[in-house]
Amino acid sequence: MLKLSTNKASPQARPRQPADKSPSGLSIVWREIVQDKIALVSFILVAAVTLFVYVTSLLLDQDQIVRVDLFALKQPPSSEFLLGTDQGGRDIFGQLIIGTRNSLTIAIVVTLLTGIIGVLVGLVSGYFGGTIDNLLMRVVDFFMILPFLMVVIAFITAVPNYGITAFTLIMTAFLWLGIAKLIRSKALQEREMEYVQASRTSGSSHLKIMFVQVLPNLSSIIIVTMTLNLAANIGLESGLSFLGFGFPESTPSLGTLVSYARNPQTLEMRWWIWLPASILILVLMLCINNVGQAVKRAADARQRKG
């Protein structure tokens, strides 16, 4: 198994450990991030934003924030409303926090779900090959030829209780395809390796070889893809929300905040409504991408800096 322990005990402290023990996966990734100053700053930023958003949103009452307040419409930033209010008199700062939390949660859940489905399908498809591979890949092809945006729009119009769950599912339904194809191609290579045959000679079943032998060997590529996908999914959610196919107004997200800028007046005169969310999207995506690049380098010994 890939060792992901962050045990940094020095050889002196544990004399029975060999001094030249190979670095664990996580410590290699961490070293790579520290070596790359931009990635390090990005990592700290993302961590700080995530932590801040999740902690403060626990203290905030979402219902109160999204309640329309007719006495505080379109107010510029002040000491009462740190980032002003929107056309419904709702606090932008509060919405920003809740919105970032929602966007991040969606992105993380979608990334994990697509990751799990994609890896499972890709692994089974690539490992067994032949008829199973053919069958699964035709399913993938079928989903791929569907126009993503149109289906999402149709889905949103058709489903009555459109909320976070429905949105997550429809995103997941389309986003596992790429991962499945990628993992399949890697698994096709990996199953030809002799250690797979060797493991069979000691009597391992296909299932065991797939998950205990082959999967860890694909872990680096899975981690890299998932990190980069996380950034892409934040962007995708925002994009859909901006077009009006994201969350309902009662559920603020980064995308819904930006979408207020569709109103020319808001765009020109009330920057505080849409600008903070836009900057946050930009910063988050850039930072996660930077971290992702560092992780990618860590996964390939030839590209490492540290």
Partner: protein
């Protein structure tokens, strides 16, 4: 015979290329006894490894005909789950390239333990580790506790090959298949590994199939030798017979092509041509015909069969009676 550990009868393994099946292993029959090393020799592409994989039942896309019996139990008709139980417990395999035969992301200790987990579920975690350390000691690794924690890339080629052997013998299999176990190693390590295999063989009383193209290794190790050419066995005899009285033209050519360090700069004998690929195998007649074109066509049989020319000494095709090397005048005859 009752002391036959493994008996292979008319085993044929065919692969599909395009829409036809081609036999990479063609009608192979042989037996391995307990506590015996049977060497299988042949050039690259002669079907040695394909034979080993067929015995282990590792070919998923091949058509297998004939019968393989381990202690009387037929393996070819066994369902996959039963076969999984047998692999690793009753038969083990040693691979040629130890670096690729080990999972690069697993410490070698847990790779050895895997074989124990699968076939000895009764062992506790601690007992398993103890047994693994014991195995590491058994295959001659100094500092087994240290080696236990290592990843394959941290070990030398010889050490890795020992690990591969430790995995293969973890459950004391009755049959051990060594597929070119020393090809990737340098000469000094070769000898140690061969000694180890021989020692383990007598320790656990296993039958060993040693696949190699190195006749030096054969001379060192084998009790009996089977020579394979283009998927068929062309000659099978005890080691001393085969070395002193080889009959089939292919065996004789092989023996003649060994570089001798005692005669530096003498010209090496080269067998003309290459092993014909699966698609281009002659459908009829002797398969070695194309590589000894100076021998008259009539010397070959139309359907070459195995002839027992002495007890336990089998040769395929009649061409051996008429074979001579270029420049060799007199024609040697049969068993002397």
């Amino acid at each position: 015979m009752h002391d036959d550990l493994l008996s292979i009868e008319h085993l044929t393994a065919s692969f599909r290329i395009g829409d036809r099946y081609y036999a990479a292993v063609d009608d192979v029959s042989l037996t391995v006894r307990k506590n015996e090393i049977l060497a299988i020799v042949g050039e690259s592409g002669s079907g040695k490894s394909a034979l080993a994989f067929s015995i282990m039942g590792l070919h998923t896309r091949a058509k297998i005909e004939g019968d393989v019996r381990l202690d009387g139990q037929s393996l070819t008709r066994l369902p996959p789950s039963k076969m999984n139980k047998l692999r690793g417990r009753d038969m083990g395999m040693i691979f040629q390239d130890s670096l690729s035969a080990l999972n690069p992301l697993m410490i070698v200790g847990s790779q050895i333990e895997e074989a124990l987990v699968l076939h000895r579920p009764g062992l506790s975690k601690k007992e398993r580790k103890e047994k693994t350390i014991e195995l590491l000691t058994q295959v001659g690794i100094a500092g087994p506790e240290l080696a236990y924690e290592k990843f394959p890339h941290e070990l030398s080629g010889g050490m890795r090959q020992r690990i591969v052997i430790a995995i293969a013998i973890a459950n004391e299999p009755r049959l051990l298949i060594a597929d070119e176990p020393t090809t990737a190693l340098d000469v000094t390590i070769q000898l140690q590994i061969l000694d180890l295999i021989r020692k383990l063989k007598s320790d656990i009383g296993a039958g060993v199939i040693l696949i190699t193209h190195d006749l030096g290794v054969v001379a060192e190790m084998a009790d009996r030798v089977a020579v394979m050419y283009a998927g068929q066995i062309v000659e099978i005899a005890s080691l001393s017979t085969l070395l002193s009285n080889p009959q089939h033209p292919y065996t004789r050519s092989l023996l003649r092509s060994i570089p001798a360090s005692r005669e530096p700069k003498s010209k090496l004998y080269v067998i003309q041509g290459i092993v014909p690929s699966l698609q281009h195998l002659p459908r009829q007649g002797c398969r070695f015909r194309s590589r000894i074109p100076w021998i008259d066509e009539s010397a070959h049989e139309e359907q070459p069969e195995m002839h027992e020319i002495a007890p336990g000494h089998f040769v395929r095709c009649t061409c051996y009676k008429h074979f001579r090397f270029p420049g060799e005048e007199e024609i040697r005859h049969g068993a002397s």
